[in-house]
Symmetry: C2
Subunit: 115 residues, 2 copies
Amino acid sequence: MSVTTESISHPACSEIELSAVLHALSDPVRLMIVAELAKGEGEYTCGSFSLPVTKSTCTHHFKVLREAGVIQQRQQGTTRLNSLRREDLDARFPGLLGTILKAAPNSVAVAAETA
Amino acid sequence: MSVTTESISHPACSEIELSAVLHALSDPVRLMIVAELAKGEGEYTCGSFSLPVTKSTCTHHFKVLREAGVIQQRQQGTTRLNSLRREDLDARFPGLLGTILKAAPNSVAVAAETA
DNA sequence: TCCGTTGTACGACGAGCATCGTACAATAGC
DNA sequence: GCTATTGTACGATGCTCGTCGTACAACGGA
């Protein structure tokens, strides 16, 4: 339980578990989120994704991704900025994120190429 | 729904879904099974694994892996021979299986090196 | 100051999952 | 033919997950 940014709890790099990462990415909605994040390389607010779910569900998915160590969340005013923990993931599981993004289906595959 | 071997239903190579594969591998027990299979490259009976679950649960896990397209099952007498669908997986999601096995924790990591 | 925006918290609900025990089917070996 | 082995089938159980609605908190702009 190491606080990386402020009061939002993130797992430390060494605490990231493979099972949790795979489970986090096994949901299509969350895979879409990660693919979007990978496309842009920067920080995105939760609302900037056009997801087929409500706000509540959205919050839930971002929480799962964060607690699995896949993304990082940083509070800025009323919005929350999300970014991929690409370096931490690559350090812990080399190549994993890249191959999953390349393997991601249809529209997501296009996103992976940009990254 | 294409029958690859006999009467046991396997998904065709093109029908393998990333979400299903990731979900299948997100369970520690199933990841152990896959790592064991990857270690030996051959065919193994269900009973040859020393898993911390009962027979019933074992059957369930093998079924999940098979329906996700990760493994192949072939009936031979009373036993069922399991093998990894390494080529199909590599064709559909290049590099995915390899990176996940390399990322697999502790004892599993040793198994991945052998492969 | 008031309102709109952004996102969380909490409770609820239905579905799926991991696990088990028991019963059963099929084959191999004696 | 009888029995041991191997694995499935089925039902049950408790847990987790994905989804939603409503209510609420925090900040920014007019």
